[in-house]
Structure formats: C-alpha cells, structure tokens
C-alpha cells in the first residue's frame, strides 16, 4: 500500500520517499514502511512524528500510535485491531478492511480499501488522478486486477464519506 501511495504521489509530480521497515536481519515481527510526500525536497525519509499512521494489525497499532503527532490521524483495520488502548490526542479512523475485503471476495484487496480511505481523509494526493492513472501506478504486473483494485479503492473512499 505504501509503495502504491508513493508511486501515485511520484506520478503526480511530488517529491516522495519510501522507506521500508528495517530488520532484514531480525526474523518475525511485523513489516512497516514510511512514506514521505512533499512539494519540496525531502530531507529524511524517516518520520519521527508522522501526520498519519496506518495500522493493519494490533502490534503495529501498539507500536506506531505512540509516535503519531498529536492531532494526527491513525487509520486502523478495525476488523482485527482493538483500539481501546488508544491515546486521547489522536483521531482514529476505523475501517473494517478485512470484512469489506471479504465482501469483494478477496482479502488481498484489504490494503487498497484502506488506501482509498486514506487518500480521502489525508488528501495529500488527488483521488481522481489516482483512479485515472491506476494502470501506471500499479504497473503492468497487476494490470488485469485494475477493475478489482479500483473497486476496492472506491469502497474505502466511500466508506469514510460521511
């Protein structure tokens, strides 16, 4: 999802960096990544106090809600993440991505659903641009899945409409 977001931003002409979670030499644990998007050059791809966090599972939620800047938005996969322990000074966007995904028929698109929601509420990048250029963004590889992914994006986008 981070990679897709970063690619979209790049194609939109923004400065962008993508930093994967470190620890190729540490086994287990959950993966994570940091995406920085800006109109100026980006000094450091690591975020000490990000504006947005997306947590697709409990450990990630526990680990990253703490570094979110106060007033920041945290997107959680509410299907499996229990947010009872959340900080008070942050805003939680609960998206039951797993369930929603099952409706479409494949858990694989959970990320795209979350991305749709993220794009809407973060408005760092343009949703329409993303939909228009989805093929370039996802690259030849996923070409056949365009329809499916588009659907997922929309679903997430609309889920957080109100």
């Amino acid at each position: 999802m981070g990679y897709t977001l970063a690619t979209a931003a790049m194609l939109e002409g923004k400065h962008v960096t993508y930093f994967p979670s470190y620890g190729v030499e540490v086994r287990g644990g959950t993966a994570n990544c940091t995406v920085a998007i800006s109109d100026e050059e980006i000094a450091s791809p690591v975020a000490s106090d990000p504006e947005f966090v997306v947590a697709m599972n409990q450990p990630s939620f526990a680990r990253f809600q703490s570094i979110l800047q106060s007033g920041g938005l945290i997107f959680v996969n509410s299907s499996i993440v229990d947010v009872s322990s959340a900080r008070g000074d942050i805003e939680i966007v609960a998206v039951p991505t797993s369930e929603l995904a099952e409706r479409i028929g494949t858990i694989k698109v959970a990320n795209m659903i979350m991305l749709g929601a993220f794009v809407r509420l973060s408005n760092i990048i343009s949703y329409d641009f993303m939909i228009k250029n989805l093929t370039d963004i996802l690259g030849e590889g996923k070409a056949k899945l365009i329809k499916l992914n588009k659907e997922a994006l929309e679903m997430g986008y609309n889920y957080v409409k109100e």
Binding site: Y3, A6, M10, F19, Y22, E25, A43, S48
Partner: protein, 356 residues
C-alpha cells in the same frame, strides 16, 4: 521516465547501463537488494553474476574480470569491506579499474544494519596496506547514486584505480523516483594493459611484486603522481546557500540531506546557515573550504559517526576558522529538527562571541 526504486536497485541498474558486465558479491545487509537485483539483471544483459563464497573471493574475481578487460564491480558493507582491503590494495598496485560499493552500517564489529558513516577513514585513507588511495564518491540520494555509478566506472578506467562508492543503509534501502535516461554505454576504448592471450603481440604481465626497491619506489611515486592528478582534476562538491551564510555545515551523503532539512528550518528563523557537501570524499574538496574560511569563521561538521570527516575539515582549514562538531554513530538516523536545535545553539553562541 522516472521509476520508484531503492538505492541498491538503482545502483545496479545504473551500473549495468554504464556497461558493467560483471558483478561478484556476497550477501550482507543493508545491500542485499543490490546483489539480488544483479542476480537477475546482469545475466539478462548478457553479463556475469557470481555469488561468491566470500567477500575476499568477490574482490579477487573483480580483479580477474578487470584484468581480462571487463567493467566489474562488487558491493558489501562494513565487515565485508574490511575483508576486501587486501584485494583493493592489489587493485591499486596493479593499476586496475574496479568499483566497490559500501552501503555503510553501524559498527565496529558486527554492529547493526542501520545506516552509518563510520567507514569514512577506511575508505579515504586506504584501509589496506601500502601507499595508495581510492577515489571515494558519496551520493546523497537515489538519483545521485544512479548518476555517480557511471562516473565511478569512468574514473576507475580513466585512472586505472579502484573507486569506492560510499553510501549507507538508508540510501541503499530507501526508495525515491529515479531516472536513467542520461546514462550511455562507454565507447569501448581498447585497453593496452589487459590480458587476452598474447596473440599477435608481445606477452604482458600484470603484477605488483617488485623486488628491486628502486623500482618499487618509482612505482610508488608514479602512483602518487597519479593521485596528485586526481586531486587536481576530480574534486566534486555541492555548495548550498553559502553566499550570505555565517556558519557553514560540512556534511556528505545522508547527513547532508538531513542538514538541508535543518537549514530550511534555520533559514525560516533567519539564521544564515549554508552547506558544503563533499561529493568526492577523496580527493577531498579542501580548496572550497579554505576559500569559504575567508568569509565564514564557523564550520559545523555533521556526520553519522563519532568523528571521521572532521579530520579532513581540520586538515583543510589548518587552524583558520572554528570547527564545531555533531556526530551520531551507531546507526542512529538524526532528524532535521534535532540538528536544527543543535545548530541554532552553536550559531547564537558564535554570534555572541563575535560581539564580545
């Protein structure tokens, strides 16, 4: 057309486009993506990829491929680079081109796999034995990695000397938009020093054993004349907002980009801070630092180590100007904000002292 790519992958792609036909390497984090990229890419391009049994084998395979006339490279990090020192000394002694990429990680010893700049002295002072130097290039973005790899091969062949590209774990693993359209294959100039079988010409030998001390000395002086030529012709650096600056940061690679982030904030607050970013760590851009010292008194050395680059800054200044230092070793990635705080403190202090 731009692609979002990791520094490791970009280094590999740029090398291949620049005519590198041989990659020999041994896995080590944080540069594995490069080895893995080459495993696929080089054979596709009709070249040779070998995952060697060790870093020592890799550097010696590079030497073999180079003496056979190919553009060859290897890459590693920290401990693996230490193991290549003997081989690098041989490459320098034999006057053979080669490119060695070091995605530096925290050390010494096993250390960790996070980005660091603590192999600076090893790279610039020749961690190997004997009188030699390696050209050291220090990119600070994925695009610059793609730009410097072809240069590395060109310089290696121009001066028949190993070239080290000094990155770090962050530059290796982060992804940024990058494009390669400008890279051209080298026009293959015939090399008169390589071994091809002596068909139709006198036989050649490539060696560094010189029993006669007078000859060995002459060889040493020949090399050091070459190094002087390199120092005259190949210094590269970037200056940023120096003109009106009252304090100059000296930083390279990842530290330099963080410095730019800090400068943005500093400038917002009206602090006149600029940056000198060495792109060649050897030859070191001493001249521009001396120049600058005529107008600027305070130099702030910032590096992700306990203090290595600072030696070259002090050697350049020779007492003219005051050297401040901030180092973060061990794989810590400092933030622009923290650097901003430190520097403003030093900045105001310097101002006060000037007053008094």
């Amino acid at each position: 057309m731009k692609k979002l790519m990791s520094g490791n992958a970009a280094a590999g792609e740029a090398a291949v486009l620049a005519g590198c036909t041989c990659y020999f390497g041994y896995p080590i984090t944080p540069q594995n993506e490069l080895t893995e990229y080459m495993a696929k890419r080089v054979p596709e391009a009709g070249g040779i990829f070998i995952q060697s049994e060790s870093e020592i084998a890799a550097i010696n395979m590079v030497l073999g491929a180079s003496v056979a006339g190919a553009r060859a490279m290897t890459s590693s990090s920290g401990p693996g680079i230490s193991l290549k020192q003997e081989g690098i000394s041989y490459l320098a002694a034999d006057e053979l081109p080669a490119v060695i990429l070091n995605m530096v990680r925290g050390g010494p010893g096993m250390g960790n796999i996070s980005p660091a700049q603590s192999d600076y002295l090893q790279a610039t002072r020749g961690g190997g034995h004997g009188d030699y130097r390696t050209i050291v290039l220090a990119p600070s973005s994925v695009q610059e990695i793609a730009d410097l790899m072809p240069l590395a091969f060109d310089l290696a062949e121009k001066y028949k000397n190993p070239v080290v590209v000094l990155g770090d774990g962050m530059l290796g693993q982060m992804m940024e938009p990058v494009e390669f359209d400008h890279i051209r294959k080298p026009k293959s100039a015939a090399k008169d020093y390589i071994l091809t079988g002596a068909k139709g010409r006198p036989s050649r030998m490539v060696r560094s054993l010189i029993f006669d001390v007078k000859e060995q000395e002459e060889h040493n002086w020949k090399l050091s004349r070459k190094f002087q030529r390199i120092e005259q012709n190949e210094v590269r650096y970037e200056t940023y907002l120096l003109d009106d600056a009252e304090l100059a940061i000296v930083a390279y690679g990842t530290a330099a980009r963080i410095a730019k982030g800090a400068i943005a904030r500093l400038r917002q607050e009206g602090l006149k801070v600029g940056l000198i970013r060495p792109i060649t760590l050897w030859p070191f851009p001493s001249k521009i630092i001396q120049e600058t010292s005529k107008t600027i008194h305070d130099f702030f050395v910032f590096e992700m180590s306990a203090g290595q680059l600072i030696e070259d800054v002090r050697l350049s200044l020779e007492g003219k100007g005051r050297v401040h230092f901030y180092g973060r070793p061990g794989g810590v990635i400092p933030t622009p904000v923290e650097l901003f705080r430190i520097i403003s403190r030093h900045y105001y202090q310097a101002q006060r002292e000037k007053k008094s």
